[in-house]
Structure formats: C-alpha cells, structure tokens
C-alpha cells in the first residue's frame, strides 16, 4: 500500500502582523512535514524570522528548532522541513510595528 500523504492549507490569505501564528495542526500519523509560507501580497517592512513550534497538547507551544526568514516579496516562498515533532505543529513569527505579510501557509505531511 502506498504511504499516506496530504497537503493541508492551514492559513489562506491571512494578514499577519505583530505576533502571528497559524492554527494548530495534528500530524501525529506523519513521519515528515514541510511547511511552505507564501506571500500572497507584497509584504510591508522587514521580513522577520519565523520558526516551527511543537506542542504536547495543541495549546502550549515551544520552538522545535527549525527557523526560516519570511518571504520578502510577493509570491516569495519560505519553507521548513521537520522530521521529529510528535503530534502538533504550527509556525509562528513576530513582525516589527507597521510590518506585515499576507500568507498562504501549507503543510505537506507524509507517513
């Protein structure tokens, strides 16, 4: 039987400012995960670093270790690969005052 895999859209056309994170996603069945973050509109201000977070319960979050810079231009894509994460996953970032990015966040999971 072929291994399961899925593309999940976690955030679509969401305008991120300040402290921002996507909704939690359960992925305990998957052995590997890739987040893609695409800028739908031209970002404003400096592109901050973003990071992957994991959680014991989907409510309390700590950094997993993977980091990437948010896209700095329209249709720019950033990604993070994760291979050891338990069940819960999300990406988070923090923008300077006045900075923003409208994102499409997709999560690609493979058993």
């Amino acid at each position: 039987m072929l291994p399961e895999n899925i593309t999940a859209v976690i955030a679509r056309n969401e305008r991120w400012t300040g402290e921002a994170a996507c909704e939690p996603y359960e992925a305990g069945w998957a052995r590997e995960a890739v987040f893609f973050v695409r800028a739908i509109n031209p970002p404003i201000g400096p592109a901050p670093m973003a990071w992957v977070e994991i959680s014991p319960d989907g409510m309390r979050w700590i950094r997993e270790g993977a980091e990437f810079r948010m896209p700095s231009e329209r249709d720019g894509i950033a990604c993070a690969r994760i291979a050891h994460f338990g069940n819960w996953l999300r990406v988070a970032t923090k923008f300077e005052d006045g900075a923003e990015c409208t994102v499409l966040v997709t999560l690609h999971l493979k058993a």
């Binding site: 899925i6 999940a8 859209v9 679509r12 359960e26 069945w29 739908i40 319960d57 409510m59 069940n87």
Partner: protein, 300 residues
Amino acid sequence: MTSRNISEIAEAMRIALLRVDPALSRFDPLPRIISLDDFSRGHCGWSQLVGNYEDHLDTMLPGYAQHSSAMLSTLGHWEAGSHGGMDSSYALKIATRPKPGAQNVAIKRHTFRKRGPIRFEAYFTFKPEANELKLSETDVRSVGFLFDLQGGDQDADAQRVMPHLRFLNASDGKHWQKWQYKRETTTFKAVGPEDKTLSHYHLSPDGWLDLPNGEQRLCYNEIPTKVNWSYLRFDFDLETMKATGFQCNDRNFDLSGFDSIRIPAMKNLWCMLNFCLFAETDVAKRAFLYVDSICISGDF
C-alpha cells in the same frame, strides 16, 4: 421458488454478510456502498470547503475564508492522552478558530449515477478545546451536516437542493440541545468582475428552524476530554429530492416538517452529490467535531 422469495433470501444474505463484517456491522447501508471512511486510511476524500473566488482570494466570502483543512486526530488530551476512535486510533477532526461564531466545514464531492435513495451514516462526537478546567458544555454552538445536490442535465425538474441539519448545542450560554434545519440561504453574489462565479454562504447563523420534536440530550461526558461516540443516519431520496429519515442514537425524528434549501439549478453542477460536515463555536475557544467513521450508501 418465487422471485419474491429469491429477493428476500438475497436480502437476508446481504444483511448476514454485513453483520459479520467488523467494519460494516455497525452500519445499516443500502444495497450499494458508495464509500466507507474509517480515517485509518487517510482523509478518505474529506477536504476543506473552499469558497469561490475570482482574480484574488480577497473576493472569497468571509464565511468561507475562515475554513481550513480537516485533520486526522487520535483525540489527544493534555491530561488523559489519546482517546482514539471506535475501531482505530484515528478520527477526522474539524476544528474552528477560537472566535465566537467561527465555523469550519469539511466536504466530500461526488456525483450520482441514479436518482434514488441514498443513506448517510456516521459516528461522531464534539467537544470544545480543553483549555479550561471546566465542563464547558455550552462552548460548542453547533455541529451538523448538509448535502449539496443537483439533478441531471436532462431532468426537467432539476434544482439545486441542499438539506441542512445541525445540532444546536448552545448559544449565548444557553444549553439548547436540539436539531434544526434550514430552508433559505443568503443572497447570491458575483465574486468577481467577470460575473462568471457566484457565491452564497448557506451556513450563515440566520434562518435555522427547529425540527419539530427535535430536542435531544446527547451524551456529553463530565469533563471536556471525555468523549462518547454517537450514531447518526440521514436518508434522502434523490428522485423526489426529499428527506426520508433521520436518526440519532435511539431517536428517530419525524421529518414531515422538514425541507431543504431549494434554488434554481446552476449551469455547472449536474448530478452533484456533495456531503459536508461542520462545526461552530459559540465562544472564543476552538470547537472540535470528531468523526470516527462514515458510510455512504445508495440503492441503484
């Protein structure tokens, strides 16, 4: 042996075979099984209901913009660990955002090959996110399902027909616990300058009507992380485009007062056979609809 006897024996054999199959024994499917989803084999075609758009995603109606992908969950809880499903570790999970009135919808898209009876059966449960050490029994506003149907392109009576049923659990802190249905959608809007794509948000909070004698107290266990699975069955006749039966656990509901949203046939949705499941939160807390398994069957 008469043809009637042969047909009775065939039906008895069919039932006997269903009863000894652990995957099917808890369902009462019609003669043809269209799909059997237990979510230990992936999402089984349940994807997110994405809204219509043209040129830019900004044109998507806000009700749809909030939707996101369903998950496969073991119902993992902070103090009790994974709850698991009925017959495997996994269930489909439809989660709202933590905002009062937020909704999320999962959809399975098919078409039909004969206008006849269809049956939708599922084992489901719901809970709010367990971020308070309280019972939280009035945090989930509703969970429910709908079909999105349209007759064939040669059918003189073709309409788009959308039966909706929801379990209104609570609103504004009142624990209603009753089934409701809907007959009207919102106004259709063109979502772009080309006037090719229309959209309407049929899950708006307005227009829900009480199903007569539709009060039902479901099993809601004593803390937010204990769940119990409930059975649901909805029967619909694609020939007459009318609902013919609705059961939840031990209750069979009278559908004589029920009707569907009915709108003129659309130019590109012939023989559509879509199934949706949805969750809605009443407070600033995520609501979760979990579905252990779904059997969709028909008589064709």
